[in-house]
Every structure is written in structure tokens, then in C-alpha cells.
Symmetry: C2
């Protein structure tokens, strides 16, 4: 399973029942949190997300609407008797902010918090497990900011067991062929492995790009991703405001999605000036038809 649940789609301040930036990525039964605006722990409760399965948290940047909920969530995990270590990937400075608050409140977390402060302005592999990799996407914002690309690890070719059986290849040779070794059977037949290897199961990927000014520099990292979340704080009629505040418009998000050849685009990080989001969707779809609005609490299937 590879799913994303958006917990907040509002920028800067909560508005019209929209919450602040936070998303849960579920991959192969493991949970990952991207950004953690104020109130994220309430949203996790509301949508009954079992946070004890959380393996790592990724913070894009240190604007408050993306991390003010972190310290509260970390304390709640401790109150819930979490003992398993937790990884945190974030910009420099967050460790001091957390430590100062833990110190003032005389808090000692019951689990180990492993903080990895990122500082590279190049795309970097920062996390991997058996089947998933997470790579940073350098974004253009007012302060140091990374997007995150979650992608299946490259998969091995599948073995064509049906064909092998049909060709009466003895089962004890399957392992060798599967690993790409040619074999000579007892009956003298020379068997080439490539004839029994099918193309691997497709790999899926999810790219989170928020907050960012429109920039084509991200295209190499998000080329062909399955689902792209790209911020679209404003309508394009406010492009000068977007430029000034280093945000993007719905049109620009769609333009990036089109250029990158992604399968689907999710718009988010909406300005509190928009009660009705339909105009942002219409603007994006006019340019890239597979555009969708963030819907808080609804799981999006990536694979």
C-alpha cells in the first residue's frame, strides 16, 4: 500500500475549516509524516491514524504553519508510552527550538528522537528502508526549504514461472534463472535467463513540493512521478503577490505538473482569502486536466 492523507491544506492561518500543512504517507504499513502545522495531533486523532506506526517525520521548512504542531505531537507520543526511536529530518535550528521547549517544561521524551538537520541545497537521499527511498527536492522559498520525493525502490525483474513450467524447466533451476544466471539443464538444453525475466512491477512515487515559488529547477527530480502535491497558494491573477511571497499560483502548479509529465497533481496550501477553491481547480485543469484539490482526511492512492 502506498497512500497519502492530507491533514491540512491551508497556508499561514487556519481558515474555512481548512487546517495547517501536514500529510501522512503510508508505505508498506509504515507511516511517515510530512510537515506538522499546529493542530496536527488533533487531525491525526480525528482521522484515527495510528501514530505509534510513525517511523519518521520530515519538516520542509521553519515557517510556523509547517512545524508549530511538532513539539506537541512529540510530547503526546511520549505520553502514549512510545519507546521506539523516531527519526526527524528538518532544517537546521529545529533541534535547538525543541530542546529549549523540552528544557523549559522539564520534559524528557521516553523514546529516542534522532534529529537529522539538513543543510544541503542539492537533492539528497535522506531516508531508505527495504522498499522506500526519500529524497529531498530543493525548493525556492523565503527561507531554506526542501520538498520530499517518496519513491519505491527500483524493483527486480519478475520471474516468468508460468512459462518456465510450460517449458518443463526443473524447479530447482528457478532460483538461478531468477537471479539472472543462464543454466544448462541435465537434458543438455541451454537456458538463457533473460527469456524468463519479465519487466519489474511498476514503481510509484509521490512528490511533496511546498512551499515554493514556481521553479523549473525541480523538474529533474519530479519527472514522471505518479502524484505531485504542489502548492498553489494563489490564483494566477495574484502572480505578483505569489512572486513577492515566494509562493505559486494554481496555473503555475499545473504548468510544472505538465512539464514534469506527472500522472496526477494535487493542489494545496491555499490562501485564507479563498473560501471557495473551485476557481483554483478550474484554473489548474484548464492547463493540466488531472488536477485535484486537497481534500483533508481523504486517502489518495499512489499505487
Amino acid at each position: 500500500m502506498f497512500q497519502v492523507t492530507i491533514l491540512g491544506s491551508s497556508s499561514a492561518t487556519p481558515a474555512f475549516k481548512r487546517h495547517l500543512s501536514a500529510q501522512i504517507v503510508e508505505h508498506n504499513s509504515r507511516l511517515f509524516l510530512i510537515d506538522c502545522g499546529e493542530g496536527t495531533q488533533f487531525q491525526l486523532l480525528r482521522y484515527k491514524i495510528r501514530i505509534n506506526r510513525l517511523d519518521a517525520i520530515f519538516i520542509s521548512h521553519l515557517h510556523g504553519d509547517h512545524f508549530f504542531g511538532l513539539v506537541g505531537l512529540l510530547c503526546t507520543l511520549s505520553n502514549q508510552e512510545r519507546l521506539r526511536p523516531l527519526h526527524l529530518y528538518c532544517p537546521p535550528g529545529l533541534q535547538s527550538i525543541l530542546e529549549m521547549q523540552f528544557q523549559a517544561s522539564d520534559t524528557r521524551l521516553k523514546y529516542e528522537l534522532l534529529i537529522h538537520e539538513l543543510s544541503s541545497s542539492d537533492s539528497t537521499l535522506i531516508f531508505e528502508n527495504q522498499c522506500l527511498e526519500v529524497v529531498t527536492i530543493p525548493l525556492r522559498h523565503r527561507i531554506y526549504c526542501n520538498g520530499f520525493l517518496f519513491r519505491d525502490k527500483p524493483r527486480r525483474p519478475r520471474f516468468d514461472i508460468v512459462q518456465a513450467k510450460e517449458d518443463l524447466i526443473p524447479v530447482q533451476y528457478f532460483g538461478l534463472l531468477k537471479s539472472g544466471n543462464d543454466v544448462t539443464l541435465p537434458d543438455g538444453r541451454m537456458i538463457s535467463a533473460v527469456e524468463y525475466l519479465l519487466s519489474p512491477a511498476p514503481s510509484y512515487s509521490y512528490a511533496y513540493c511546498s512551499d515554493t515559488r514556481y521553479t523549473e529547477s525541480i523538474l529533474p527530480y519530479i519527472q514522471g512521478v505518479t502524484v505531485l502535491y504542489h502548492e498553489s497558494t494563489f490564483l494566477h491573477e495574484m502572480v505578483s503577490k505569489a512572486e513577492m511571497t515566494m509562493h505559486s499560483t494554481a496555473y503555475e502548479a499545473a504548468d510544472i505538473a505538465k512539464q514534469a509529465g506527472v500522472r496526477r497533481l494535487i493542489l494545496g496550501h491555499f490562501s485564507a482569502r479563498y473560501q471557495d477553491l473551485e476557481p483554483l481547480l478550474v484554473e489548474a485543469r484548464r492547463h493540466f486536466s488531472e488536477s485535484y484539490l486537497s481534500e483533508e482526511g481523504i486517502a489518495i492512492d499512489i499505487a
Copy 2:
């Protein structure tokens, strides 16, 4: 008008739709916020409280469930173009915590935040305006913690205008009499001011005591208050846990209310272990009948 609206009644973590500690005191059209747990700005939105009228914020102590929502609220006030200065009364250390977060996010508030870090362990007058005073109540908790007593300023005696008119006292003498000066009228009558001064309108008061272990040392400060909010994290069957964590039980809160001769007691800061709060109410009422549970979002009339 003198009212209190409780925005959060849960301790440590949100639970059963109960939120973290925060209360709005409205006094004579001015608003004051006591404590500011995570999500307070959402509660203020939900209950349509006009935060532009906020004059001052009082933080009891630096456990996260009492202040993690502060930095977000301060940013939102700035985003809403607040320009009027705001006063913050809090324990030492909060200024550094806020400044570090403003610095990391490159935030400059549009209004002046006047931070008053408190450090006295004696009850102190910390705020006053024309008609209200706020005095600290030193509490007994794991870290430095103050409760707050909001009280009407002592009122002046009222002038008995009806009687004065009946006695045919010329109106130009009313001012002198009102100020307590005896006068001699042109007809030779000697008029004593005290005969025309009625007892002043009653003064009302609200005491917020959270978080605290049961302590009789607070009695002198809360004697006879109109409404007392006293934490009651646990049922009395868990008194040893209350002792260990420096909290109080419902019975103990009632006992304090009874000894202090208050008019009404509001219980709050409930442990997340209690879904049903009725047993806490029953326990308190058995000892002090004018006990009530916190109900989030409901305004309590003090005067």
C-alpha cells in the same frame, strides 16, 4: 460584563473532544487570554471570539499543554494586521522560546509584544486597567507556576440621588457630597455626606488555579471569590498519582472551594483517562454543592 469562556479542559493531551488549557476572560469589553495550549487559535475561531480585542495574555507555566499554541496565535494576530501592542505575562524563558522561533521563521510581528516575565513566588499585582486588577496566585506544581486572580477594582460608594432630590438639596452640591465632602447649604442646613452614600456595587472576582497540587497556601488569595476554577485532574482514588504529578483531585478542589467560601467552583484540566466526567462532578458536589464541570465554549457569568 464579566465572563469566562473555557476553551480547553483536557490535561496533557487532547482527548474525547476536550482541548488543551485556554480560557478567555471578558471584562468590560476587554478580552484576556489565560494559557494557550496547542489549538487555542482554532477554538477562538470556532467560538467566534474577536481576538482583535485581546489586551493581554497570561501564561501560568511552561508545560506544553499550557503554551504550545501561543506562538501560532501570536503569528495569526500579526497576519490579521494587528497593530495594537499586546502584553504577555509569563514565566521566565518564554521570551527566548518565542524569539528563537520568530528568528528561525524570519517572522517580524506587526505589533509590539510586551513580554513581562514573572519570577516572584509571592502574590503580585501584575496588571490593572481602570476597572480590573490581575494578581498572581503562587501555585504548587512541578515547575514554576502562577494562578491568576481577576477582580473588579474596589468600587466607590454610590450617591443616593433619589434621597438627595427628595431632601431638596440643590443639584450643584451633588458632586461635593458624592466625593465625601460635608456641605452647608444656603438655607443654613448642614449636610453630612455619609447620609447620602450607599454601599458600593458589589465587586466580583474570578480565580484560575491550574496546575497545582492541593495547597491551603492559596486560601488567602482566593477567599470569597465569586468563581474559582481549580484543576481536578484525577478522582480522589488516584490521590497518590495526583501527589506524584503535583495535581489535584476533584475532592481536593471542592475542599479548597469550601474552605475559601467561594460562590461557585469550576472543575477542569481532566486527565485523558476519563471519558465520562460525571464521577468527578459527583465527587466534588458531595463536598461542595456549587461545583460544575468545565464546558468548553460556554460563557460563564462572573458578574
